[in-house]
């Protein structure tokens, strides 16, 4: 069970499996305190990754009309209007003397150290790249959908839009479906990384709210930033997903938030489902033995 969550900060079998091709682990540090909600990250991501349009709506939820990450939105800027002071020393933005702050956060796939989606994928379509990121191979994915409920963050989703024109023709027409049917999520711009470029969202971010780099360095930078905000008396700064001892072994893409994670639609204590799997398998084997024993016992009374 090598790929079951280990109590370490390193992904299972990575980077050893890459040998000399291994690269430093790359990731994002999303500092929400400097996000201005411009959504350039959403647009750049859609453009670079050729993500199809999936409907336009007005939600009435502040400036957010994307609402959540899904198969066709790999960056999502959350907007939260709060009657809370931005700073604790009385230096507040205010309307009618009531404290007011507007939180913005660009959400993205967390590229977990222990990734539930990758663990449960039955085809091997999801894999860990040489950069330590988690990517879906679209030529392998058969749309079983197991990764969708496995993700503790609700990042992955099946694409229900029509197949694209340049998609491979059906080898078995009887089994074909009209929709794309595969699962899509952020690749941390695997293709751009291969070419030595930073991901599109980080490139487009005008305030460096999205910072891309080697994970170790990003963590140091985040620690320094948090210390500075605490010194300045900001209300509620905290790092989310920086800690390697959390339920997913730390995020490859982590965040600096100004309130509880659930305020941003993030789980407060995410745990990779496979953390429970050794016990679950043992229980399943026992239950299987019980099915056998129970059915055998049904024969004790003879044929009648």
């Amino acid at each position: 069970m090598t790929a079951v969550a280990q109590p370490t900060g390193a992904p299972a079998a990575w980077p050893d499996s890459y040998g000399e091709e291994a690269k430093p682990r790359m990731g994002f540090f999303t500092d929400t305190t400097v996000c201005i909600g411009c959504k350039a990250c959403e647009v750049a991501c859609k453009e670079w990754n050729l993500i199809p349009e999936d409907g336009l709506v007005w939600t009435g939820e502040s400036y957010d009309n994307t609402s959540h990450l899904d198969a066709n939105s790999w960056r999502h800027v959350a907007f939260i209007e709060q009657q809370k002071p931005l700073k604790l020393d009385g230096d507040v933005a205010s309307i009618d003397a009531a404290p007011l702050r507007w939180l913005m956060e660009s959400d993205v796939c967390k590229h977990c150290t222990h990734a539930g989606c990758l663990d449960v994928c039955p085809t091997g379509a999801l894999f860990r790249t040489e950069f330590g990121t988690v990517v879906v191979q679209q030529d392998i994915c058969n749309g079983c959908g197991y990764c969708v409920p496995a993700c503790p963050f609700g990042v992955l989703d099946k694409r229900h839009l029509p197949r694209s024109a340049d998609d491979a023709p059906l080898s078995l027409p009887l089994l074909g479906k009209k929709e794309d049917g595969r699962v899509w999520k952020c690749t941390l711009c695997y293709d751009r990384l291969k070419g030595g470029h930073e991901p599109a969202c980080a490139k487009a971010c005008p305030t460096d709210s999205i910072q891309f780099g080697e994970l170790d360095e990003l963590r140091e930078r985040a620690d320094a930033r948090l210390a500075k905000l605490e010194t300045e008396g900001w209300n509620g700064p905290r790092l989310y997903g920086r800690d390697e001892s959390d339920g997913v072994g730390g995020f490859g893409a982590f965040f600096l938030l100004l309130d509880e994670p659930e305020v941003y639609g993030l789980p407060p204590d995410p745990v990779v489902p496979t953390a429970h799997l050794p016990r679950l398998w043992a229980s399943t084997a026992l239950a299987a033995a019980a099915v056998f024993a129970g059915l055998a016992a049904a024969f004790l009374g003879g044929g009648e």
Partner: protein, 329 residues
């Protein structure tokens, strides 16, 4: 509840429901404090599985437990029951992969399931179990019908006999190994519940198909399995605590009640009149089968319901965090 409706609801989003329709903006009191959410939106995604999946949990259970019933009947010399259970199991084993393939987003790539074997993925393990079980039981059934190649038939019977019990229970591990609150939190009960349900179904199906004089073990399996499934459902709902309330609501609640009523009535009828009346055994068996299908549907829908409401994701996690904080001051 103050709904904030989107201006354009007519155009469905990619997830098949209008955006903003989940406009749940109440805050609730939990752990003595207000629980916040992002406009009441879900945190984990609802499964994308279609009705084929719970139906497969049912047919897969029938296939797995029927293989066991068949094997033990063969060993104890009850040839009539053995043959009926073999045919029932093989039929369920043939239907099962068709249901699974139909649910795939890319059905033409179904063979990719056998591209790797991953013990971290109950679906991968299950695909192999179903592949082995289905191949073995259908081979055995065809050879039984043809009356040829005895040694091959025995080998196939042995393989399906061994693959049966895990086929009956792994589906419980499959749904429990997710981030869906009502499934994940029931990980200690689900493999047992699905196993008991499978035994009840296999017994019920064999009791319908087998003459009374040979069907004693099938009737006992139907009644025993039903009672175990009813008891385990009760245990699961109680141990789930707060999250378990989804089993009282909407489809999970409705089909859960149908499951209990039909299973209880069916098991009662089989136990009461099943030894004397073939009709009673058949009606009782059909009620058990229907009840257990309703149970699978109830569990399936409960997963969706618990994913849709962020409280079921957040509150157990916050409770866990505050307990950890209490333990390490």
């Amino acid at each position: 509840m103050t709904d904030r409706r989107p201006i354009d609801q007519s155009r469905p989003r990619d997830n098949g429901r209008p955006a903003g329709s989940v406009a749940w903006r109440d805050s609730i009191t939990a752990l003595g404090s207000r629980m916040d959410s992002y406009y009441g939106r879900p945190i984990v995604k609802e499964p994308v599985w279609q009705p084929e999946i719970p139906v497969y949990f049912w047919t897969g259970g029938i296939a797995g437990a029927s293989s066991v019933l068949h094997g033990v009947a063969r060993l104890t010399g009850n040839e009539t029951l053995a043959r009926r259970a073999l045919y029932i199991g093989a039929a369920a084993d043939v239907v099962s992969p068709l249901l699974l393939i139909s649910d795939l987003g890319r059905p033409e790539r179904f063979l990719n399931m056998l591209r790797v074997f991953k013990v971290t993925s109950p679906m991968s393990v299950g695909s192999w179990i179903l592949f082995i079980s289905g191949g073995a039981s259908s081979t055995a059934a065809v050879l039984e019908l043809a009356g040829k190649l005895r040694p091959v038939k025995w080998a196939a019977e042995l393989v399906s006999f061994l693959a049966g019990p895990p086929l009956a229970t792994y589906t419980g591990a499959l749904v429990a190994n997710t981030s869906i609150p009502v499934w994940s939190e029931a990980r200690d009960e689900l493999p047992w519940l699905f196993g008991a349900s499978a035994a009840a179904c296999a017994g019920a199906a064999a009791a319908i198909a087998t003459p009374i004089s040979e069907a004693g073990p099938a009737r006992r399996a139907a009644v025993g399995g039903s009672l175990a499934a009813l008891a385990l459902t009760e245990v699961m709902e109680r141990r789930l605590g707060f999250v378990g309330e989804v089993y009282k609501k909407e489809q999970a609640g409705r089909y859960g009640r149908i499951a209990k009523a039909a299973t209880g009535a069916g098991a009662g009828l089989v136990a009461w009149r099943g030894t004397r009346s073939r009709v009673a055994a058949a009606v009782g068996g059909a009620l058990v089968l229907a009840g257990e299908l309703a149970l699978r549907w109830s569990v399936f829908r409960a997963g969706f319901q618990s994913a849709r409401d962020p409280r079921y994701t957040v509150i157990p996690q916050k409770t866990r965090l505050s307990a950890q904080k209490g333990a390490t001051p």
